[in-house]
Symmetry: C2
Subunit: 200 residues, 2 copies
């Protein structure tokens, strides 16, 4: 079991409807040590992959993206969910359904911040149906850039996002993949992944 | 002139209405080197101040807060602007007017993530009228915690936020304070601040 799986088992709660609540260390309060370890582990899993930009979506992907940008020493871009008054730049736009807010969101990146020469590592805290990640992929492609990889903290393995992305041929790494969880017994089973030593 | 003032002069544009556009390195695309320097400079300015939590507000304060949390090795909490479906925790709530989105926002922090024992460094990218910072102060006080300091990347010195906070006795540090700017001539004048050597 890796550090994130251990952290989930010790600190997460499962709520009715099988909702995993980990906002005590991932996306409301941030455990910096866990975030740092995730960034190192992600960079390790993408060893040999050229990355010159990290892309995420506001708000809860930003902390992990910042730690990764720091490790790679490359710019970080976060896609926005609403037009801001200050930006009149042309934008790349894609749509994503937000399950948290139960509506379609437009997702924007200003054109100057994604280039055809970019090899982009897409990062997010959660992967479920993959709506946000697919919107980010769409935006990278609109810019003519290349998706170097997709790095996720926690993948909900019962939902279709991860399967679709792997079928589409993307290099997707999720540090923890939840195969099953049950709020009544508060138990979680993770998908087995190659251990640190086995990944090349 | 410090590194951030130099970066603003070289990379910012001023738009009609005297709007400073620095989303190419601060709050849409993030220049990791500038972000890292800001975190070090802020920690230096708060030398001797005990901090055990960093608090910011989504989304554009998160990158700087993460870098500071990493330097201090303390948890980071970001206040949220909308209820999420997944959280049924009791919350501290305050209100702040968003000039970007031109509406009142509720700002939330789940109660378990701010404690009466917390000495909180409040961090944000911009300070103008101080609405967001005052909401965060309110929330820290609701929790019974103490505001150890307020760290801002860019303060708009013509607006009232900085003056009010200093009058209220808070230890406020803004890495760059814009005293005047003019979109027609694209000139910016910064408030003079003690140099690195003079700050104790």
């Amino acid at each position: 079991m890796n550090f994130l799986e251990e952290k989930i088992l010790s600190d997460a709660t499962i709520k009715p409807g099988n909702i995993l609540k980990i906002d005590n260390f991932l996306n409301h309060q941030i455990d910096i040590s866990i975030m740092r370890q995730m960034a190192y582990e992600m960079k390790r899993r993408f060893t040999g992959v050229e990355v010159n930009k990290v892309l995420t979506i506001e708000a809860s992907g930003i902390a992990l993206a910042t730690m990764l940008g720091d490790l790679y020493d490359v710019p970080v871009v976060f896609a926005k969910k609403s037009q801001t008054a200050n930006s009149t730049d042309d934008k790349y736009v894609a749509q994503a359904y937000s399950f948290t807010h139960k509506k379609m969101n437009n997702v924007f990146v200003s054109k100057p911040y994604l280039l055809a020469t970019d090899r982009v590592l897409i990062v997010d805290d959660f992967l479920a149906d993959g709506q946000a990640v697919h919107a980010l992929i769409d935006i990278v492609h609109q810019a003519g850039g290349e998706v170097a990889g997709i790095g996720i903290a926690v993948e909900k393995g019962q939902q279709k996002g991860g399967r679709l992305l792997r079928e589409e041929g993307y290099h997707l790494e999720s540090i923890a993949i939840i195969e099953e969880m049950d709020w009544q017994t508060q138990t979680i089973r993770f998908r087995e992944q190659p251990s640190h030593q086995d990944v090349t």
